[in-house]
Assembly symmetry: D2
Homo-oligomer: 305 residues x 4
């Protein structure tokens, strides 16, 4: 399996030069466009690391999975889905268009920015500090790594330039979908996106979801079974922005991408996978990461379909 | 399992009165709003029939699965997906809106009307008669039933009132997505939608897909493995119009609904299920059928997630 | 005034090379991209011709004004505006998008294709031949020219390639906005667009509207006063597709453009103007024609504002 | 003329009960739904007051005319129209939809909220206090009334509940259409909307525009001629939200409505008119005010078309 992973990475290195590092957040523009690395962490705790697995990156939208887990645990399914849908969107990730033409102003799903902002507002905590602490602790537990922290340069950069997200949040406030202080919620949202990790951390998070919510290293249940099932379903239908359907056809596993260049993938009962490659395609997904996942799915027969 | 199926049906009978029989095709308006029946056909060829399983119905959009299978076999994956996408739509099933704002005018996926019309145009055959014959033969083989035929009253009704589909087809012709005679393609499309069946027929179709493309009754491969995998993926992300995501969360199996009141569901490696209940919810799905599937998923632990 | 017109034309000749002749109708692609000519016909029957005033062209969307006049005379204001609105559209001229998201499926105004197709269906006549005859006779009277006729090469070209208009018409039929035979209505619509004229013909049509509906050459009332007022209002708000507002600011007179390269402009109580220049800007308006109108408005102080 | 005005008002009193006072700003909900009053101020300084002309109201969107005048004077036509278009919108006044699908993110015109926020950002002044002072002074001069001031209850109410406008402003900031401090610009915008007046004040503002920019009472030029012409053009095509075209057909004069219940109308070279009636139709226009304007246009032959 190590050889397969190595070959798949090396065979797809060239494609990274057709992608672009995210530039709308200035700090992200400093990402290494050529990097491509991955980790497979299976449910027996074997860890395979290949390529540029030492590349540090911020999780960006991959945090939306963790935030959704917290929101579902803290509020229950009914409360969460009364404020955010679970339908895929055919629109780009930061679109306000869909937000508005839904009859009830409810964001389509938890993995577009609007939906993640709603989930952030639902996480337990009286204020932004407590909410972020809840999300931060959850990712530490899911990755079995207490040292995970925010990259404050990225966070400051997001906060400074996050006016489209600010627009979304005020729109949701105006539509009574979120009720608390907008800047406080956005602060938590920006911090969650700016958490800095390695592929092994994210592969471990994925391995917990692959293992039905139980940490492979401790047999501790970290995610309730129903929450875990919901999260896998939404990752399948909405995980890769407006290419989720194509990813289901070509790869066929629950996954979530982020503009930091990470793709986190869950192979039920078998393994968690994380790929990092900061060069993005025009949809905002790691251009090399998608190819690596297609290769692994073919070679290791990963599709759930 | 027979008792479970019976109970789930009886427990959800009442909800049918909150639904409406499709009226935009006059012949469909004659459907029995109160009917609710189902069939489970497992991969060992056991057939369980409960409720109003003798209700005849036209397959309507369930035909889109058969048409997609033919299009993929006849043209290959690349050719099909160069003319139709595989992304879920958050818009209603007969929407022209999405059609237009896609940059390349390509319909979003094979299960919205526009996409199914494109797939129909791709099915082998020099004219509408040959194309329909191809689709007709495929459903006969997938259901192991040579007597399946078109309900010509419904077909004539669809043809007479199908102006929105006609609009879609001419739009696609104007955008060079379909090239052949529009009325010929529409004729095939309307005939495919008007095929009349029983739940057992459709449960058998689903059992072939559940059995990775091999007919459980003959061990004959009817669908190539890759095509079968693609079809399951698209059923999961796009099968229930603009509630596909919610169905994935609440039921979690590949499925396809039709406005004739049928839901066809595939439980990989285990069984095919078909439910019929002509009373529809506002999204165009059988209101009772969705509830029956939710009940069965819970009781029989069907979710793939 | 002759010198002014000549200078304005010559000063704007160069800009025609930045435009493109319409290509979506193959016959239109044969238009002379470099041509630029104009006619001013005042309410005292003085005619000034300058530039390439001998260029023949098809009226295309300028016919929508004549069709609207017929529809209003034949049905009255209430009947017409129950089926078509009079609101400007910010969308391109052949857009289906707006058509659909209006709650009542009513086309926004009589000068987008959808609205003109509705007006065509409302013109008196039991069939397409009678309807076209009505429109044909009206333009002959408004231009005081009995020899005006259809360019049948253009007409055949439009008919062959008019699938987007066919889509619009079937959509309207599906929404019960038009009730009669779609192909019959489209035939009339394509013929109306394919009427071939010279700038002097169209300047005369405009002079009747400028003269409050009375032909300057005969003092005969050709358009009822209220109809004439409505037509001027809609030309002002909707006459130049999605640049009507900008034209109001920069020129400030009721006008209508067509993809054949003509702009017809009405200077109330003073004159009718027609410019022809087949090179179009990206909005579908004559690129030279718009500039000529801006120049004339400035030099002759034409704005009604 | 006094009798005509009186009759038109009395004949339309009943319709006010079919309208609703604006409720999205709590302070506006206190408006008197039954009130209906008007003032005609002609270019010879005759003032006719009828009905509930003593009703105080906040100008709301009527302020957008004053803000546009200031922006045009302070920056010139080119600079203003590089950041805001002048095309009518077929969408409601507070829509974000159009904002986004314009290729360049430029608001469609200065009279939708997005466009007015851009114009506010362009008014001279180093900060919100200076900008508002500029707008405040302009309306004092245009109404010849130094006592005009902000209703601070309404202002505070707008500020508290203005999250949709906040969303618009942050969206524009994210798209680099506005550059300065968002809260500062919004503060000026909310204050401008909250200016409290009587119909006579607004009829005087309109009379200046009717008089080509020159104050009838002092013969002082208050608005440059070109700016005045542009403002009349945009009032004609965009003045009544998504019913501007219908108003052009039925009334036919440049006008601007506000959700405080005012319609300001300009009859070129003859008079300014202001009507107040806080009961609004579903488009946000005074339901009685529109009817009064239709009646006056008919009786006094006001249409410019």
């Amino acid at each position: 399996m190590k050889t397969i992973l190595k070959n798949v990475i090396e065979n797809n290195r060239d494609i990274t030069k057709f992608g672009q590092v995210a530039t709308y957040i200035p700090e992200l523009a400093k990402g290494n466009r050529d990097a491509l690395g991955a980790c497979i962490f299976d449910t027996s705790c074997n860890s395979i690391l290949e390529g540029d697995y030492e590349t540090k990156f911020t999780i960006q939208s991959v945090s939306k999975v963790v935030t959704l887990i917290c929101a579902l645990i803290d509020n229950g399914k009914e409360a969460v889905f009364s404020k955010v849908g679970n339908e895929p969107s055919a629109d780009p990730f930061n679109s306000l268009l869909k937000l508005e033409i839904q009859e009830n102003h409810k964001p389509l799903n938890p993995f577009i920015n609007a939906g993640a902002i709603v989930c952030t507002s639902l996480v337990s905590g009286d204020n932004g500090i407590e909410k972020f602490s809840r999300i931060h602790n959850m990712i530490k537990k899911l990755s079995n790594n207490d040292d995970i922290d925010v990259n404050y340069s990225v966070y400051n950069s997001e906060k400074l330039t996050g006016n489209t997200n600010r627009a979304i949040a005020y729109y949701l406030k105006g539509a009574n979908i979120i009720e608390k202080d907008v800047e406080d919620i956005l602060d938590t949202y920006f911090k969650s996106c700016s958490i800095e990790v390695l592929v092994e951390d994210i592969a471990k998070v994925a391995s917990v979801i692959a293992n039905n919510g139980v940490a492979p290293w401790s047999n501790e249940r970290l995610i309730p079974e129903e929450v875990n099932r919901i999260v896998k379903a939404i990752m399948t239908t909405c995980g890769l922005y407006d290419t989720s359907g194509t990813f289901s056809v070509n790869v066929g596993v629950p996954a979530k991408s982020g503009v930091g260049g990470c793709i986190m993938a869950v192979v039920p009962n078998r393994m968690g996978i994380a790929v990092v490659g900061p060069a993005l395609d025009k949809h905002g997904n790691s251009i090399g990461g998608v190819k690596v996942m297609e290769g692994l799915s073919r070679e290791l027969n990963l599709s759930i379909f």
